[in-house]
Amino acid sequence: MSGPIALHWAPQAASPPPPPPVVPSWSPVELIESIGVPHGFAEYVVWPAVQLALILFVVLTAVAYLTYLERKVAAFIQARLGPMRVGPVGLLQPLADGLKLLSKEDLVPAGADRFVYLAAPVLAVTAALGLLVLVPFGAAWGTVTDINIGLLFLLAVASIGVLGIVLAGWASNSKYALLGAMRSSAQLVSYEVALGLALVGPLLFARTLSMQEIVESQRFTGLWWVAVQPLAFVVYFIGSLAETNRAPFDLPESESELVAGFHVEYSGFRWSLFFMAEYANIIITSAIAATVFLGGWSMPGLETAVSWIAGTDATTPLYSTAFTLLSIGVFAGKVLVLVYVVMWVRWTLPRYRYDQLMDLGWRWLIPVSLANILISAFAFLVAMRPDQGGLLGLVEVTKNGLWMGWAGTAYFLLVNLATFAMAAWLLAKLNKTAWSTDLHALRRVEALRRAGRLATAEEARAE
């Protein structure tokens, strides 16, 4: 029984957390002001207008070329060439498609609710494009605006898109469209829960809802949250596939069953609005994933690269421009990789059956994300410094974000990998005995039933 045993291990005691990473201070607002525009007007009207115009142009072009990319990816996966005729290697194909769609007639079916029918695609595309304001495309002036409830706002506005789909399906006065809309709304509402819950895990580490600050928090800690929240990332990714009605969850628009689902009656430009909304949604969910899980525009070595180009003085316009453009490039790269994975999945996996879809959502993803939140929160609480209410002192909450040493990093990596493994094991265990996923057992039960029916028929005949 010697002296007190040191249970509170504080490896950070020797090394205080570093200062927050540098963010350049110059912004093109100064450029606009220098030609005589008043301050507030420049900052709140002119510059955002310029940014929005740029972003809309870039994103809409990207959407058009995503259709091209999708066709190419599909073609390569199926050992074909894909569009090759219009332009070099088919590069002008989206343009041709767009012209075709614009020149088609805008049909309204008989018996449709005209106003709702016409408004629904606009609602869907507005909900999708409205989100672009908040996506942190890059550092410094690479973002339109950054509000304190950024992620919440993104989720909220994204949820409006459901209304567009439901109303479109209903207003078409067509059974295929209605069925597609019903499926879609049920699917979207179900998976929104898992999606939102999955985002809570990384938020524990980011400690903010602001998109830009989420990126900054990862920069500060020097860790992408996917490393400490792999389970949440997987759940989020699956959920985002379902949210964007992508294969293998494309039941609302499955061609083979419902012709095309909720937009079967639409034509021409309004039909293309739905497509724009779908692809914009893919970009945005991928952007959110990149921001929350993959470090957003940040990248190890980004500052070094900038300093090669523009020196180390963070206040110069050159530094700011180089930093912003490079960070936008990094972000675009991450988003493209995710979008590519989405397409890859589409052309690789077969479609889920409807009850399997609901099973996956309610019985797997939601419990898993709930468990993830619980375990992560507990692990976090245990790891915090004793004076901040924790136990082990592996992580410290500073005003710039979380600070953890190698021990803390290792701790969180281990805990979350263990969570991952445990969740998979437990759910497999729990769901194994459930009848609806065990097709083998189902078939056996069906055979037994048939035998029973035969037996009763025999008895009846005997009487």
Binding site: M1, S2, I5, L7, L391, L430
Partner: protein, 688 residues
């Protein structure tokens, strides 16, 4: 980590809930893993908490565990609650009955925590092998985890009510586990017997608690100890029977129920109907020592009532002696161990009565090690021999189960008190504690000391007899000739080996000295150790000679002893009396009740019936003329009245809601009138 000690009971509780609700969905491996993980979690947290406690400065003092909901909260509020200005209710004012759910950790709790979780973990591991293939596998571990939860609550409780919750919880689990194989009549009868015996004890225990609250004004152990420490309460003198003595005797009735003292010990031998791991964990190592723990916990109160302590010491000594004798005559291996447990508990009660509480707890610890070891070894034998429990049909197992034999021999040496095993140190300390007691009068001290010596010799004898008959005797059904080695899985042998090591070296941790409550025993002189060693060795020698060297002589002696042996096997009539006395009393009461029923009640009923028949005739006329007239008149009046009222009951939402809104408008106008006049009166030409 003491701040997180409230987690300790929660792990097994979570395990119990998970296994109780979902357990049937998991396989046996998963169930075992969850149950063991729950206990292991408790063990880890306990170990950390104990390490921190031992390393800290508050030696001996109790440390409250945490603050806030799971650790400490207002459980049964009482008294007047005060509400502060910021809307947050503060603690109730002092003076009222306010019971908090709270834990505390002190040295005593530390010892018990380690013993309970450590031995519990080993037995859980053992049980996964023992219960393999049982249809109630998940249920068994749910109960076992629930028991761990209750036991941990019991040892960590900071006041009587919380302790009582744990006390009842372990009783419940004991009941459930004794009757685990409820389809056997014997098991369910034994469970009921244990339950009833414990109820009797609990009645006394509750009276003791109420008395303590009445006298000390609080149920917190710390407060009670403080009140006694102030000297405001005058302790009873020896031979005086004040209220303190009554409280202590009340508590001791509870102790007798839980820790199997005369006359309530009868349930413990029957409790062997439960699965063997249960016997090892609950009915040997942990639950039955709760009574000893309780006496150590409130030793301040006990020390203030020396005459009651004298009773405790005497009851303990008699229990030890009677059970020791009974153990020598048993044939069922588990019953031998059961009576041995009763006997050892008697010794511990004797030590408590003598004031040597620390040594009693010391013996609780060492006893947990070697008795759990012996029980688990017995369990291994029983499983290997396909549920054969009769000693006379065993024999020659030493070759066939070498590991079990070796570990059980170590356990037997330890319980016999052969130096230098742990049993030697703890038993020796208890004997010295009795001899040097400052509570008991001198001649009684010496007499009780010699009773203790006799019990030690008896212990050595019957343990050796059991080991000899099981492992070394020849010429039985299970001799070497009948088969080769019996396979014992590693999940069984590993706990056995660990417990064997603990049984040998457990004596090094002299917790009696560390706890320092009651008489602190110092190992000085050679007299008592020498006597104890002689007693042990002679017992062993006799046992060995009668069972292995000359088994024929042993059988002849037991034949010659005839009726005495029969009496010993039935624990000198206590077992039978437990059935006869209450049953006889109930029967005569029932006979009296029947007589009263026939003579008084039936007569009254018959005459009432006659009166009713004659009254009915008159009633009939009144009914036809008066009542029916009123009823018809009411009906007609209702029909004509309804024509008016039905118009208001349109059943429509619209009308109803309009009326509702009108009422709201009226209220708004009525309440807002003055304000409206004040603000807008000038619009209408009035007011200011």
């Amino acid at each position: 980590m003491i701040g997180f000690a409230w987690l300790i009971p929660l792990f097994p509780l979570a395990g119990a809930i998970v296994l109780g609700t979902l357990g049937r969905r998991f396989g046996e491996r998963a169930v075992g893993a969850i149950a063991i993980a729950a206990v292991a979690g408790s063990l880890i947290v306990s170990a950390l908490a104990v390490a921190e406690y031992a390393g800290s400065q508050h030696h001996g003092a109790a440390v409250a565990v945490g603050d806030g909901f799971p650790a400490s909260f207002e459980w049964i509020p009482g008294g007047a609650a005060r509400t502060s200005a910021d809307g947050i209710a503060s603690a109730p004012v002092a003076g009222g009955l306010s019971i908090r759910w709270s834990y505390s950790v002190d040295a005593l709790t530390c010892v018990m925590l380690l013993v309970v979780t450590g031995v519990g973990l080993l037995i859980h591991v053992f049980a996964t092998a023992y219960m393999r293939g049982d249809p109630g596998f998940a249920r068994f571990f749910a109960y076992l985890n629930l028991f761990m939860f209750s036991m941990l609550v019991l040892v960590m409780a900071a006041n009587f009510p919380v302790l009582f919750v744990g006390w009842e919880g372990v009783g419940l689990c004991s009941y459930l586990l004794i009757g685990f194989w409820y389809e056997r009549d014997a098991a369910s009868d034994a469970a009921k017997k244990a339950f009833v015996a414990n109820r009797i004890g609990d009645a006394g225990f509750l009276l003791g608690i109420f008395g303590a609250f009445a006298v000390f004004g609080s149920m917190d152990f710390e407060t009670i100890a403080r009140v006694i420490g102030t000297g405001d309460i005058v302790p009873d003198a020896l031979g005086e029977w004040g209220v303190l003595s009554v409280i202590v005797l009340g508590l001791f009735v509870g102790v007798a129920g839980k820790s199997a003292q005369i006359p309530l010990f009868v349930w413990l031998p029957d409790a062997m109907q439960g699965p063997t791991p249960v016997s090892a964990l609950i009915h040997a190592a942990t639950m039955v020592t709760a009574g000893i723990y309780l006496m150590a916990r409130v030793h301040g109160v006990l020390l203030a009532a020396p005459s009651a302590m004298l009773v405790i010491a005497c009851v303990g000594a008699v229990t030890a002696l009677v059970a020791g004798l009974a153990a020598t005559a048993q044939d069922d291996i588990k019953k031998v161990l059961a009576y041995s447990t009763v006997s050892q508990l008697g010794l511990m009660a004797l030590a408590c009565g003598a004031g040597a509480f620390g040594t009693a707890i010391f013996h609780v610890m060492t006893h947990a090690f070697f008795k759990a070891l012996l029980f688990l070894g017995a369990g291994a034998i029983i499983i290997a021999l396909h549920h054969e429990q009769s000693l006379s049909r065993m024999g020659g197992l030493a070759r066939r189960m070498p590991v079990v034999c070796a570990t059980m021999c170590i356990g037997a040496l330890a319980i016999a008190g052969v130096p230098p095993t742990s049993g030697f140190f703890s038993k020796d300390a208890m004997l010295i504690g009795v001899l040097e007691s400052t509570v008991l009068p001198l001649p009684l001290r010496t007499a009780l000391f010699f009773v203790g010596l006799v019990v030690a010799a008896l212990t050595a004898y019957y343990t050796t007899r059991m080991i000899g008959m099981a492992f070394f005797a020849r010429g039985s059904d299970h001799d070497e000739a009948h088969g080769g080695k019996l396979s014992v899985p590693a999940t069984m042998t590993v706990p056995l080996v660990v417990l064997a090591v603990l049984s040998v070296f457990g004596g090094l941790f002299d917790v009696g000295h560390w706890l320092a409550i009651g008489t602190v025993v110092t190992h000085a002189g050679w007299m008592v150790p020498a006597l104890a060693t002689v007693a042990a060795v002679s017992g062993i020698g006799l046992g060995w000679w009668l069972t292995v060297v000359r088994p024929g002589a042993g059988r002849a002696i037991s034949l010659r002893l005839g009726p005495v042996r029969e009496a010993a096997a039935g624990a000198f009539g206590f077992d039978a009396a437990a059935g006869v006395v209450p049953v006889g009393a109930t029967l005569s009461l029932a006979r009296a009740a029947m007589l009263a029923d026939v003579e008084v009640v039936d007569r009254a009923v018959n005459s009432t019936a006659a009166g009713t028949v004659s009254g009915a005739g008159g009633s009939n006329w009144t009914d036809a003329n008066v009542v029916d007239g009123i009823v018809r008149g009411t009906g007609e009046a209702t029909v004509s009245g309804s024509l008016v009222f039905r118009a208001m009951q349109s059943g429509r939402f619209a009308g109803t809601s309009l009326v509702l809104a009108m009422a709201v408008a009226a209220i708004v106008v009525a309440f807002g009138w003055n304000a409206a006049v004040a603000a807008f009166g000038h619009w209408f030409g009035g007011g200011q």
